[in-house]
Amino acid sequence: MTTSFILNGKKVEVTAASDANLLWTLRERLQLTGTKYGCGASFCGTCTVHLEGKPIKACVTPLSAVEGKEVLTIEGLSENRSHPLQIAWIEEQVPQCGYCHSGQIMQAAALLKANPNPSREEILSHMNAVLCRCGTYPRIMKAIEKTIQNT
């Protein structure tokens, strides 16, 4: 089965079995490994990417569901880490192990795209979707609030 979609602004075609999944396609077939596997069941948010601008969990998304649509991954978020959130993430020294932060940043980017000035409560409930075992939540909050202030 061939699926065509727009990945990080470029048209791609992937031929794979009909049960192909978006996460493994991104990671193993297209070698965009910034999107991570964490739980395979949409609980942890480590695999968060954008589908038509909205955050989705790639691990539970069949490849067929993105036919003709736009998918954005961490690799396509900006050139040279220039997205305001990435700049704030570095300034606030947010990541520790770093494994969840592609998901964290993609989740936060989707929020700010839809709502450039969210309240603290809105940030919390939105960011609840992505787990961080290292406990970087306080710095994630600082980096998001800093991004909002700066833009």
Partner: protein, 720 residues
């Protein structure tokens, strides 16, 4: 050398070839081993310390001897070397050291050449002096060369951030320029400590600078072992024994083999290995396996909820376990006490839950193996692979990768050897991926335990006798943190009684300190309440002969304005703990939804004395992280066994703390110190159980004595 499609680091040999600069391989015994050879066979075991590579463009590459699992030591360790060699930090790059413990290892006493085992928060504390020496030696090589080139006395030369300076003749040369004419001295001396940099001249140690690994962790380019791709690689998973020790029998092998994309089925002692051409195919095969699990392993009889009853009996029995410490005459003093206070505390099993599920990539060939893994035990893993395959150590190439969390779990080698087994069977590279369910159900947990506490109070109201019996499983994992070295109690007896349930247990961040400090620090609070004392003042009295500890406690209390006004509906708890040499104290402020039973921690104030702190910004991050991870374990986390099977399977039934339950504010203070560095990564975690329980008691008058404090348990305690 395999040609990986994607690899996190260039192999050392390739790097050296194309580096074109000079590599300082510094020998402590004054015998430098130079050159671009594979020096493994040529080193003098136990003598060699550190490496610095200098390019003609001025780039300085410093080798990182420890696993980078989020704790940031790859940056801190390089900063120590850079500090002493007076390098320009912006020109410093960091590369994982090759897996050669004779050079990069560290012993438990900080001596060179032990193991490359990243555990116990020991990376900075263990390597600190050696890396200062190595940096000073690298600086010496630079000075030595400039002295020769300029025909001046080496004593007239100084350095300044990437330059050697001869002020007499007003000349200055960059390190990169020196690389152009560098020659290596015949002998490399140990630089006496008196010639090391004066700490008042430090430009990096104790100052603000950024972690080197963060940029690649915000754009998805940081490479974990799960991201490795090798030519002809295929995908493996394993269906493992649901009860530790049971043996698999695959009932539908031909059906599984016939599935699309299936390449191989391998019978392992503890499970069925499956290999296919895609992750989807191999996961489908796993779902479809019909396996009967045979045998009668010990773990089959383990039911964790009921185990506490056995622990109670063990605690009450006359038998004695391992004595952690015993001083004075406890029995006598307890019988003479004016008042005896007792309480028991319980801790469920806890799972590591590192965000990157275990995985490894292996390519086993006829007589050698190449493996990519994120591991806390680099040399132990390399050796385990060699032993497992019965090939010489030199035939195993282990590429270390970033770890998506470790917390103790990645100091084991089980997942790496599985990848090796599958690759050997297939004769091609295999990426072995554990699912989250695998990672939980075949976990190795922080042990469950019961802490039985008893204190004797004398006529003056002082704690005169202290008895603490830890009962649980996991043997040596139980005792850490059970002692109370900073509280002076004349008669004390601390003991561990162990039972083996046949299940897998392992070090988990802070090991026994989490459960033990929960019991100790909560019990002290109970004593304070019973004696109508302020729990902060009670601790002050007990640690009055320990000024550093006292300062830490006072700092946390001051930060929180202990004794000051607390908002309506909230209360505070205080606690103290030492771990890996770091002294830490904390205060938290909570509120409670009495209908749902949900505790909300609003604020945490934390103070620590960790000796010299190399990288304060990161040290604060480590303490924040340890507090949050600690809070997650305290409020949410419990692994339970029924008939030997783990009852949890994913983050829906093993919930980690999420963003909305993270404290609104965390404030950290580091006490300035000139003492040797201590371990920081775990220090914020051990007191979290107690500060929450103590705040809860202050708010409600009821006591939480069983971690985790789930809403159900909270409601039970409120109703009691």
């Amino acid at each position: 050398m395999e040609t990986p499609i994607k690899e996190n680091k260039i192999s050392r040999r390739k790097f050296l070839k194309r580096g074109g600069g000079i590599t300082f391989l510094i020998a402590a015994a004054g015998v430098p081993v130079w050159g671009l050879r594979n020096h493994e066979k040529e080193t003098n075991p136990g003598q060699i310390t550190a490496w610095v590579h200098l390019d003609e463009n001025g780039t300085i590459t410093i080798y990182n001897p420890a696993a980078e699992m989020g704790q940031g030591t790859m940056t801190a360790l390089a900063a120590i070397v850079a500090e002493e060699m007076d390098a320009d930090w912006s020109m410093v790059k960091i590369m994982d050291a090759p897996v050669e413990p004779e050079i990069y290892g560290i012993g438990w006493g900080g001596e060179r050449g032990g193991s490359m085992l990243t555990v116990g928060s020991r990376s900075v504390s263990g390597h600190y002096r050696n890396l200062r020496q190595s940096g000073a030696q690298a600086r010496y090589v630079l000075l030595h060369n400039v002295a020769r080139e300029w025909k001046v006395d080496i004593k007239e030369l100084t350095t300044q951030e990437g330059h050697v300076i001869h002020s007499k003749s007003n000349r200055k040369i960059s390190y990169g320029e020196i690389a152009g004419f560098i020659q290596l001295p015949e002998e490399l001396p140990e630089i006496p400590e008196s010639e090391w940099k004066d700490p008042k001249d430090f430009r990096l140690i104790g100052k603000e600078f950024q972690r080197k690994d963060i940029p690649e962790k915000v754009d998805g380019s940081a490479v974990f072992s799960t991201d490795i791709m090798v030519q002809d690689m295929v995908y493996g998973v394993v269906s493992r024994s649901p009860v530790n020790g049971s043996k698999p029998e695959l009932k539908n092998e031909s059906e599984i083999k016939a599935l699309d994309g299936m390449l191989g089925v391998l019978m392992l002692d503890h499970g069925i290995g499956l290999v296919a051409d895609s992750m989807e195919s191999v996961l489908k095969a796993k779902r479809n396996c019909q396996i009967s699990w045979n045998g009668n392993p010990k773990a089959l009889g383990h039911n964790s909820r009921e185990a506490y009853e056995d622990y109670n009996k063990m605690a009450e029995s006359d038998s004695s376990g391992n004595i952690i410490t015993s001083s004075g005459n406890l029995r006598n003093e307890l019988s003479l006490s004016d008042k005896i206070i007792k309480a028991d505390y319980k801790n469920d099993y806890v799972y590591h839950a590192q965000m990157e599920p275990l995985n490894a990539v292996a390519h086993v060939k006829a007589d050698r193996a190449e493996v990519w893994a994120g591991t806390q035990a680099a040399d132990g893993t390399r050796k385990a692979i060699a032993d497992h395959l019965k090939i010489p150590l030199e035939s195993v190439k282990l590429h270390t990768c970033f770890l998506g969390g470790g917390f103790g779990r990645r100091s084991m080698t089980d997942y790496v050897l599985e990848a090796v087994d599958l690759s050997k069977a297939m004769g091609r590279p295999v990426k072995l991926q554990w699912t989250r369910e695998d990672d939980i159900q075949f976990g190795a947990f922080r042990p469950m335990s019961l802490q039985c506490m008893e204190a004797g109070i004398d006529q003056k109201g002082k704690i005169n006798a202290w008895r603490h019996v830890v009962v649980g499983t996991g043997g040596g994992l139980l005792g850490s943190g059970a002692d109370i070295p900073f509280y002076d109690i004349p008669n004390k007896h601390i003991e561990v009684r162990n039972i083996d349930h046949g299940i897998r247990t392992k070090h988990w961040r802070a090991v026994g300190h989490g459960p033990n400090k929960f019991a100790i620090e909560t019990f002290l609070d109970e004593i304070a309440v019973a004696q109508k004392l302020d729990p902060y003042q009670l601790r002050r009295e007990l640690m009055k002969n320990h000024p550093r500890a006292l300062k830490v406690l006072d700092t946390a209390a001051k930060m929180a304005d202990w004794g000051g006004k607390v908002p309506e509906g909230r209360a505070r708890g205080i606690g103290f703990a030492e771990r890996s040499g770091t002294l830490a104290a904390g205060v938290c402020e909570i509120s409670l939804n009495r209908n749902t039973g949900k505790i909300k921690v609003h604020k945490i104030w934390g103070a620590m004395d960790a000796g010299v702190v190399v990288h304060p910004q990161n040290a604060k991050g480590q303490m924040e992280g340890a507090l949050v991870m600690g809070l997650s374990s305290v409020l949410n986390e419990s692994i339970t066994f029924k008939d030997g099977r783990v009852e949890q399977s994913n983050f829906n039934n093993y919930p980690l703390l999420r963003m909305e339950d993270s404290p609104e504010e965390i404030a950290i203070e580091i006490i300035p110190s000139t003492e040797p560095p201590a371990g920081i990564g775990e220090a914020g975690l051990p007191f979290m159980g107690a500060v929450v329980s103590n705040a809860f008691a202050s708010l409600t008058g009821k006591r939480l004595r069983h971690m985790p404090f789930t809403p159900e348990k909270v409601k039970e305690v409120l109703a009691s």
